[in-house]
Structure formats: C-alpha cells, structure tokens
C-alpha cells in the first residue's frame, strides 16, 4: 500500500459493487490525483479480466467526474474512508438520426419494431421506418394530439391510441406499410383536453387522463354502433355527415377513476390490475382498476407533477415535477414515501425508464437537455446530451431496444443509448 502513495496525498477507499465483478472487501490507498480511468484500470487489473470493462464510479450518490482529490476537496471529505461503488460504464449516447417535423411532436413511441410513431400538435400521427422514411401519416384529430401509445400489434397491423386536446381519445388501426390506416373509435368522456393515454401489456384496456381530473378506463373492443350519442354541435355537423360512411364509432368508458383534485398529467398501467397516475394536485395515486378506487395517495406539497414513469421491474415510480426535481417513490415499501432528487436546471417534462435496467432513466427538460440518470447517483446525471443543440423544448421520450427517441419542439431525434444489463 505504501508503494501506491509514492506521490502526493492518497485517499482510503473501499470498493463495492453490484456487478458480477466483485473485488474483495479491502481498503485501498489510492492517490488523490487518480481519475475514473485510473480506477477503472485498477479494478480491471485487480480482477484480471481478459477483456477490459470500463467502469463508472459512484461516490456518495455522485458520479466521479474529476479526480478523487478534487471530489474530496469539493465535499470536504479528507479523512474518511470513501466507499466507492462501481458500475459498468455506459457509452455516452450517440445521435443516430434526426427526423424534422413541421409541428411540435408531443409524443413518440418506438415500441414497434422498425417504426417510430410520432404524434404532433397538428393532430397527425406519423410513422417512420428506420431509414427515416415517412411511411404513415394520418390526421386523426382536429386538435393537437398530446399522447400516443401502442395498444397491440401483430405482424403488420397495429392498434394505437391517441389522446388529444379535442376532448377525445381515439383508437386507430395502422399497418406498417401505411396502406390501411384509419380511426376505429373515438373515446368520449372528458370535458377538458386529454393529457395522456396508455394501454396495458395485453392490449385489452386503455386508460386516459385529462385536465378535468378524471381518468377513464376503456376496453379496446371496437363497438359496431355508437355507444355515446353524437354531440349536438353546430359547426362540424355537415363535415361529419359527409364522412358518415367510415366515421369512427363513438365509444363510452368502462369505468371512471375520480379522486384527483387537479389536472391529471399522466396515467400508467402498473401490474395487472393496477394503475398509477400523477397530477397537478401534487399527488401520485395508485388505483385498483377492478374496484375503481384509489388505494394509495402520495402527497407532496406544492409540487405539480407533469410526468410519471415506472422502472421496468415496477418497484420504483418516478414523477417529474415543475419544481425541477424528479421524485422517486419506492412502491414496494408499505407506506410509499418519496424523496426529491435528480435536480434539473429546468422543468423536466418527460421521463423514460430503461426497458431492461432497473436503475437507468432519461429525462427531458424544457432547456433542451436530455439527461441520463442512474438512480444510484441522484446528485449528478450520468450523461447529458442536447438534441437540437439544446435550444428547443423536449416534450416526449421513449427508450426501447437501446434507442432513445426524443420528440419535441424541433421534431424527433433518435439517439443510441446503451442499457446496462441488469444482473438482478
């Protein structure tokens, strides 16, 4: 140990990890000038790995960016033994493609293999294949679409749901080649613009949330006749009559969830019969869909939530709030409590969690920055990247198959982001 401290001061360090490459628990004296690269080399050598694996190092929930000595000076930790957790390093995201849009893109989805679905403020849903060709373009809504989700898909035919400012959500059928795309049903319940729509895994049910503080539960069976009477609306009646033949069926909800006191900004399906929602009334609510009751309410004072996401194992709920933080709720705990963390420079508008890793997530903010986080490092983001040079707002994110799809003011950008293979 004395040999390592040949030059300059040294720091006592204990390494821990949850990766499959553990080091023996032992105190190392490491020169304070060492940085991530040196530490990574040290771990690699100590493990004797045949192919070097880059590691990132977390000190007290912070990614080690500078040298150890600088970290100690910043945090006033000179004497203590640092406990450093190392995780497998992830390559910084790389920009793959840019798909410009004329309008703001409010929602993106790359859940379908080979397709990027985008919903934009002109009421149009577009689909792009991987060579960035627009394959589908259907104007579903007369008003801006706020949210889009894929309900079910088989081969080339997909069922998507869209929520819009025109107070309805729609179930639409699209095919990959764009030959037969049409709206199947409009969902009528809400009296204010809809904020989000989501479908469960099997595609049997859809949830919609709206600014009028209610959440609608819908099944995805397309009725043969209108379930809801047509609105006695003067203006569009003539137009509608013209399109009478292939007019989408008007559909009513299966159930309604009422408990929020403000705008509901996001609703998500949890496990089988559960749903989560967050709203501007500073609450995150857990719903029992069978009984249509709210089973748990997590209240935080004065923090309107704009987006909600669940980690892939469903253990953690992450809610982005307008006070520029993301709240983390451990849902497995009996009384779920949250801690504010992941501080942003601007309003975080959207969250997407990694489809495979339980610890990774990306957030997009109004300052045009997409931040990649690891929940073990809540103080600083693991990496930050700027679509559209960081000048345009980011409104939507999706992360599937190693691709982060970013929708916002400037259209859509696709970034490649590696996911950490979860060893859990």
């Amino acid at each position: 140990m004395a040999s390592t401290s040949s030059a300059g001061p040294s720091v006592a360090v204990v390494f821990t990890t949850k990766t499959p490459y553990p080091l023996p628990t032992q105190k190392f004296m490491i020169p304070a000038s060492w940085k991530r690269f040196h530490l990574s080399q040290l771990v690699n050598k100590a493990l004797g790995l045949s192919t070097p694996i880059p590691f990132d190092f977390l000190v007290k929930e912070q990614v080690l960016a500078a040298s150890l000595g600088e970290w100690c000076a910043e945090n006033d930790a000179h004497e203590e033994t640092l406990e450093i957790e190392y995780i497998e390093s992830i390559l910084p995201p790389q920009k793959m493609a840019e798909i410009p849009h004329e309008e703001w893109v409010s929602s993106v989805s790359c859940k379908l293999q080979g397709l990027f679905l985008t919903a934009s403020y002109d009421g149009t849903v577009r689909a792009f294949d991987y060579s960035q060709n627009e394959t589908i373009k259907i104007g579903l809504h007369a008003a801006p679409i706020t949210s889009l989700c894929v309900v079910s898909s088989n081969e080339d035919n997909h069922l998507i749901a869209t929520a819009s400012h025109d107070l309805t959500a729609q179930l639409s059928h699209i095919s990959t080649d764009g030959s037969s795309s049409k709206s199947l049903a409009t969902l009528h319940l809400h009296s204010e613009p809809l904020s989000s729509v989501c479908a469960n895994v099997t595609g049997s049910h859809v949830l919609t949330s709206s600014w009028d503080s209610i959440i609608g539960i819908w099944d995805t069976k397309i009725p043969s006749v209108d379930e809801v009477a047509d609105e006695p609306l003067g203006q569009d009646r003539k137009k509608r009559r013209k399109m009478e033949t292939d007019k989408p069926k008007r559909k009513g909800p299966v159930g309604v969830l009422k408990s929020h006191t403000g705008r509901v900004s996001r609703v998500l399906f949890g496990s089988a019969k559960q749903a989560y929602s967050c709203g501007f009334d500073s609450t995150v609510r857990l719903w029992d869909l069978d009984n249509e009751v709210c089973t748990n309410t997590i209240t935080v004072s004065e923090r309107p939530f704009v987006d909600l996401a669940l980690t892939c194992d469903g253990a953690l709920a992450l809610a982005a709030s307008t006070d520029r933080s993301v709240f983390m709720y451990d849902l497995r705990a009996a009384a779920a409590t949250g801690t504010p963390s992941l501080m942003h420079a601007s309003t975080p508008s959207c969250i997407a969690t990694s489809p495979s890793s339980t610890t990774q997530l990306v957030t997009g903010a109004y300052d045009g920055m997409v931040r990649m986080w690891d929940i073990r490092s809540t103080k600083t983001a693991m990496s930050t990247f700027k679509p559209w040079d960081g000048r345009k707002k980011i409104l939507s994110l999706d992360w599937q198959r190693g691709l982060v799809c970013i929708g916002g003011e400037g259209g859509v950008e696709i970034w490649k982001a590696a996911e950490e293979s979860t060893s859990v």
Binding site: S106, W211, G234, R263, E302, T322, D323, R324, Y366
Partner: protein, 715 residues
C-alpha cells in the same frame, strides 16, 4: 498607740524595749546616708530619728529607763519595787498626750456607776469631772463664746474646746478640701520616673530565661482551647455570613456620564490632501493664471490657503513659512471652536433590518423561467390566464392574439386583428368560455377552440342570442354586433362592440367577478370608462364627467364598489348608491397599475415614478406601506387570487415577487416580504415587462415583455 500603752502597763521589762537603743546605735555611723536613701519612710521615722539623735548626744550619761526603788510596803511589810512617777516627756510615746485617763478603748458606760472614769498613767484613779446640768449647759452656750466650738470628750467625760487646728480641719472637710492644711495640691511634680520613654533602654541585666523557654502557661491555655475544639465545645470560625458583614456596593456602577457630559474630544484637524504634497501630481499644480488669481484674492476669499508647489525631492523643500500661523489658528480652533457633540449611533445595523421570515419558509413562489412563448418583433403588451389556469391568451402590437397552453407553451390557436391589441381578458365565468380582445375603438369577443359541447353551446348562446334583448330606452353610442351564424367561424370574433369613435385603444378591460359586467378604459380623447353588460347587450358610462385622466378601473371582488384610478388618486365609488366612498392618495405622480386583494380590503397601486403603495382600506387614505424597489417605472401589478403573493413588473426588466399575508383580524398588519426578483426579460426601447398575470391555481406567473416574450415562471 493603745497597744503600746497597754504593753507598757502590763509588762515592765520588755525585750523589745531593751533592744531599741542598740539598734539605734548600730545604725549611727551611716545615719545620714540612710536618711537620704530611705525617704520612703513616713513622718514617724523622722520622729524616731530625732529621738535617736537626742539619745546619741548623751548616750552614756543618761539612763533612759526609770530606776525602781525597793521599799518596804507599809501594809504588808514586804519589800516592793517602786518606780518613780512617769514624767511623760519627749522620750515617751505618749508625751504629747494630755489626757490623764488611760482606760483605753473601752465602753465608758462601764464607769457610769463609778466615781472615777478611769486611771491615769500611774494607775491612779481619774475622778469624774463635775458636770453641770442642762441649765449650766445652756448658760455656757450663752456665756462662753467658744462653747459651740467645744465637743464632748468621751475619754475625759467632759466638753473640751476644739483647737484651732481641729476647727481648721473641720472647715476643710466642710469645704471638701484636703483636711491637711499643709497639703499643696499644686506642688510641682516630682519626676520619680522619667516620662521620656527610652527607645532602647540600656540595661545590663541578663536576658531572663523566660524569654527563650516556651511558656507553660500559654501551652496550658492552648491545650485547653484545643481540647475544647476537639470536644466540640468551640466551633472554630463560624463562616461569616454576608448579611452580617457590611453590605458592599459599587459606587461607580451607575454611569456618571449620563448626568455629566464627558470631555469633548477636540475637533480633528483636516488631513492633508494630495495637493499639499511636496511633490503633487501635475494636475494639482496651479497655472500661472490660477496663481495670479489666488494672489489677487483676499486671504478670506481664497478657496484654499496655500498654493500647491512641486519639489523634485524632499531635500529641496524649504522651511514651512506658515507653520506659526497654522499652529495659531489651530489653537484658536481648539479654544473657540463650538464643540458640538455628535452623538455617534451605536446601533447594530442588523438590528435595523425588520425581522422578516426567510423566503424559503414562504414557498412556493415563482423562482425560475419554465418556458417562453414569443411574439416575434413586437411587444407582448397584454395577456390573460384562463380561470382554470391552463390557457393563456397574449396579444401583441402586431394585432396577433395567441392562445397557448401554460404548461407546454405550444400555440394552439392564433387570431389576427387589425392594429394593436390593447387588452385581453378571459371571462371569469366557468360555465362559459370566451375572452375579450380590445383593439382600436372595438372590443371583440372570441371563443377558443376545443370546448366541451355544453360549454360551447352556452357560450354561443350568450354571445349570439337567438332573441336579442330589448334595446335600451336611451340610444347609446356603443354598437353591439354579432357575427351571423353562417359567416362566423372560430377564427373570427363572435361578438364585437364598437366603442365611440375617437375613443382610441382600450387600455384596460376589467371584469366584474360574476362575469356579466366588464368595464373598459379607453386611452383616446373621447374615451373614458364604459361598463358593458353582456346579457343585456348594453353599455353605459358610469361617470358623466370625471376629474382627471382615468388610468385604470377595478371592480371590488365582493362589494358593489368600483375603483377608479386617475393620474394621482384612486377613488372608490359605490355603484349601487352612486356615491363616492373614499379617495386614496398614494402620493404617486402618475399611477400606472392597481390591483385589489381578494379580500377586498387591500389595494396596491403602482406608479410610473417607481413607487408601489399598499393601502389598507380600513386604515386611512394614505398608504400603509410604500415600496420603492424598482429602478424604473412600474408597469403592472397583480395579487395572486389564492396564494399570499403579489408581483410587480417594471420597465427595468425585472419582476418582483412579494409575499403578502393579510390577516383576518384587524389588529395585525399585513406582512409584506420581498421574495424574489425574476430577471429574464430584455429591455426594448426603454420598456421592460409590460404585464404580469398569475396562474390562478398554481404559484406560477406569466409575464409579457417588450421583447415580445411571454414567460412562464414556475415555482
């Protein structure tokens, strides 16, 4: 004396008597020296000495003792020794004794029944003297002048006249004097011992032993005390209680300076300036003209009493010619200067800062710019936030009104009007949804898109009723026109109110809280205040004539009161009774903005002269508090409808957020805490932030600026 006499009587030959002359003889040789040294002996000894001297003279010739003769007794026939009669002379002890009776000190009544009263020296009977009766006594007192000085002699059983000495003694005793006539109370002191104490008396006496052996007596005494202490009979040194001791106090405790002014410090002499340096910088040196001017002036008129001079080194500086004069004037200063004591305030500056709660404890309030909606190349002059807090309409000088969502900032709909947009306001009603746009001489009523069917229906019916209400009796110059249903689209206003020509741009649109009345203030010459009623489609001017140029109007949130701000005053009218209730005098030269607290009891007024006045309507017509925090004119003010906040915006490009807690009890003053200055708007042509509006149900602020940006500030 008596004992001597008795001895003499009983024993004829005494040993003592025989030895007597021998002692005298022995002491003969050094009689004189003895005499001197033994002065202490009394008078008696002197007498003895006298006797001795006499006996000395004829020691051998004279036989002292009487010689007995042996005679044959006549009676018995036996020889007996007869002593000669005692001749009491100076040899005898009782030579001076005259008294013949030698009975001694026995009670004389023993001799009462006897003819004699005792025996004389020779043992012969002393016969009782004859005593006269009482009459004789009386006669004696009359005849004998010395009778009263005689006393009864017990021994002689007769009256004896007192001698002159005795009388003298009696007299002295009466006078409380010393009975001895020879006694001189004033005789000079005989210094038996010297009164002067020698410091170190010389003594040849050896040091006594007691001086260096420990005293047994002292040891005994100490041991006694020790034993007593051990036995507990003596409690050693009881702790002295403070109460027993004399109370000590600090006589200097009270500050004497409170009554007595402290010595005044002398005024400080002025410190020398750069110009007084021996080597001042060039700019301090006077030019020739200045030098001449200085020399021409009288000494009293000179600005300074010296001319700066430059020397290249200190060595070259000559003697200071004005030294004496300067010292003298300094002395004059010290002597004549009025000594003003300037009370130096010894106040901690922190204590002067009012105790305000920390802004962190007053969260939430807007802290950062969440998003910006921009009106390119124009002023975002007016904006309004929908009562639900979701939509914002903003109008600019190019005639564009944009509807956008507060949380995303995406423009949903845009309307184009001709000319500047003067004011935009949402209708406060929740069952209908429309907003009013004020442009040059016209008000337009616009319905936003994507309304629920019921709300849309109601709004449409309200603005374009199927049957028009009856026209008012008096024709009004204000024309209400509804777009025909066939022509109308959502892009055009459904209802328009044509204000009187020449009224100019509506400066402000103020809604009554119920959403039926709205009031407009026009800026033009023919303008003024109009109150429009939507349901009756009727407009009226509440004031026929009003003093001053009306800047703003407001409806009271609860009462039928109407606030009218002219350039300098705010007048409060009761609309129901049509009376003037109150005039507020903010002391602002030109009022720019005004808002009323939701409770209706507090008003804030802002002015172009940077002042912000808070009025408590219950208190007075003068401001409760005047805040001058902006560096440029205040443009807009608004109270938050639900949170205890208000914001003010100014031409300096900043928005200031204040916490304003209003208490329901009348005793507590409103709490106003400055919270945050929001910067982010750019100044353009001297204009800054033109309007601020709160989001009704969130602590969010929307601000429109001259830079064309409408910013949303989130907590």
């Amino acid at each position: 004396m008596h004992s001597d006499e008795e001895g003499d009587d009983e024993a004829e030959s005494d040993g003592d008597v025989e030895e007597f002359p021998e002692i005298d003889v022995g002491s003969d040789s050094d009689g004189d020296s003895e005499f001197n040294s033994d002065n202490v002996e009394g008078d008696l000894d002197e007498e003895e000495v006298d006797e001795e001297e006499e006996s000395d003279s004829d020691a051998e010739s004279l036989h002292v003792f009487p010689r007995a003769k042996t005679v044959t007794s006549d009676i018995t026939g036996q020889p007996k020794r007869v002593y000669p009669e005692i001749e009491p002379d100076y040899d005898s002890d009782s030579s001076t004794e005259e008294a013949p009776n030698r009975v001694g000190n026995v009670p004389m009544h023993w001799y009462d029944d006897l003819p004699h009263i005792g025996y004389d020296m020779d043992g012969k009977r002393v016969l009782r003297p004859a005593r006269g009766d009482e009459l004789d006594k009386f006669l004696a007192t009359v005849e004998d002048p010395s009778a009263w000085t005689s006393a009864f002699d017990k021994n002689a059983q007769t009256d004896k006249p007192l001698s002159a000495e005795e009388l003298d003694i009696i007299k002295r005793l009466y006078d409380h004097e010393n009975p001895d006539g020879n006694y001189d109370p004033y005789e000079p002191t005989v210094e038996w011992f010297t009164s002067q104490v020698e410091v170190m008396p010389l003594s040849a006496a050896p040091e006594p032993k007691r001086r260096w052996i420990p005293s047994k007596w002292e040891k005994k005494k100490v041991m006694k005390i020790l034993r007593a202490i051990r036995a507990g009979r003596i409690v050693p040194n009881k702790p002295k209680t403070s109460s027993k001791r004399t109370q000590l106090y600090d006589i200097w405790k009270s500050d004497a300076s409170t009554t007595l002014a402290p010595a005044l410090p002398a005024p400080k002499p002025k410190l020398p300036t750069n110009a007084e340096s021996y080597n001042p910088p060039e700019e301090y040196l006077p030019t020739d003209q200045e030098r001449k001017e200085w020399e021409d002036k009288d000494a009293e008129d000179r600005e300074r009493d010296y001319l700066p001079q430059k020397y290249s080194s200190l060595r070259l500086v000559p003697g200071y010619d004005r030294f004496i004069k300067e010292r003298f004037s300094r002395q004059l200063d010290l002597y004549l200067a009025p000594r003003i004591q300037r009370a130096k305030l010894n106040i901690d500056p922190k204590s002067l800062i009012p105790k305000l709660p920390s802004p962190n404890s007053l969260r939430p309030f807007p802290t950062y710019k969440s998003l910006t909606f921009s009106h390119p190349s124009s002023y975002a002059r007016c904006l309004s936030v929908h009562p639900s807090g979701t939509w914002v309409v903003s109008g600019d000088d190019n005639g564009i009104v944009s509807l956008w969502e507060i949380n995303v900032g995406r423009e949903v709909k845009r309307w184009k009007f001709s000319g500047k947009i003067g004011a935009v306001e949402w209708c406060p009603r929740t069952d209908v949804c429309y907003f009013v746009v004020g442009i040059e001489e016209t008000l337009h009523f616009v319905i936003p898109p994507n309304l629920p069917a019921a709300v849309y229906e109601l709004t449409y019916k309200l603005l374009a009723p199927a049957t028009l209400p009856p026209a008012p009796e008096t024709p009004s110059p204000i024309k209400w026109t509804t777009a025909s249903s066939s022509k109308w689209t959502i892009d055009t206003p459904l209802l328009s109110i044509q204000l009187s020509s020449g009224s100019g741009l509506p400066r402000q649109i103020a809604w009554h809280r119920k959403g039926d009345y709205l009031s407009t203030v026009s800026s033009g010459a023919q303008g003024g205040v109009w109150i429009h009623q939507i349901t009756r489609r009727h407009s009226q001017a509440p004031f026929k004539k009003i003093r001053g140029d009306i800047q703003l109007v407001r409806f009271h949130p609860t009462k039928p009161h109407f606030f009218v701000a002219t350039q300098q005053y705010v007048r409060i009218y009761n609309l129901a009774e049509q009376t003037l209730l109150k005039t507020l005098m903010p002391g602002i030269k030109w009022i720019s903005s005004m808002d009323i607290h939701a409770s209706g009891d507090h008003v804030i007024v802002g002015g172009y002269d940077r002042k912000l006045c808070w009025f408590d309507l219950d208190l007075s017509s003068k401001p409760y508090k005047v805040l001058r925090y902006h560096s440029r004119a205040i443009r807009s003010l608004q109270f938050h409808p639900t949170y205890p906040l208000f914001a003010s915006s100014s031409d300096d490009g900043t928005i200031q957020i204040f916490h304003s807690r209003v208490f329901s009890d009348l005793m507590t003053d409103p709490l106003i805490v400055p919270l945050k200055i929001l910067r982010g708007h750019e100044n353009k042509e001297g204009l800054g932030v033109l309007q601020v509006k709160w989001c009704p149900n969130q602590p969010w602020l929307v601000s429109g600026g001259a830079d064309g940006a409408v910013n949303v500030w989130c907590s």
